[in-house]
Symmetry: C2
Subunit: 84 residues, 2 copies
């Protein structure tokens, strides 16, 4: 079975209801710079990952395991996996 290399993106964001002081600070800074109409800013992380797998499905399963074990703190964060 031949391996393919997949490009994936993992997005990790704070769960709704979890305080995001960094996002609040950015909101304040944007206001200070004169940007009007900004109601909310929430900061998150992305991971662009290149990995070898036998199929797209296998890549997705592997990336989900990476999120559960390392990339996300599932107590306070949600994650989403996108494989090209």
């Amino acid at each position: 079975m031949s391996m393919n290399t997949y490009s994936a993106q993992v997005r990790v964001t704070l769960k709704r209801g979890v305080l995001d002081p960094q996002g609040k600070a950015i909101e304040g800074a944007l206001d200070s710079l004169g940007f009007e109409g900004v109601n909310q800013v929430r900061q998150g992380k992305t991971f662009d990952i290149k990995l070898d797998a036998n199929s797209k499905k296998e890549a997705e399963v592997s990336l989900t395991a990476m999120c559960e074990k390392l990339l996300a703190n599932t107590v306070i964060e949600d994650y989403a996996v996108f494989v090209e």
Copy 2:
């Protein structure tokens, strides 16, 4: 003219060629955890922003200005703006 509220996502990533020690550390950690086939990890940031604007185009223009002025360090980072 009535204002609409738009949900936008801004993604900020390191330019190609800029060293990403945090990404390298994650690569090493994934390897230690037994994940095979990971060739590259690059970490970036996302900003989920809710803002009022007269049109989607106006929202995009405003978000691009926010990237240039605050959200991204354009010397070493690229950014992409997505408005829903």
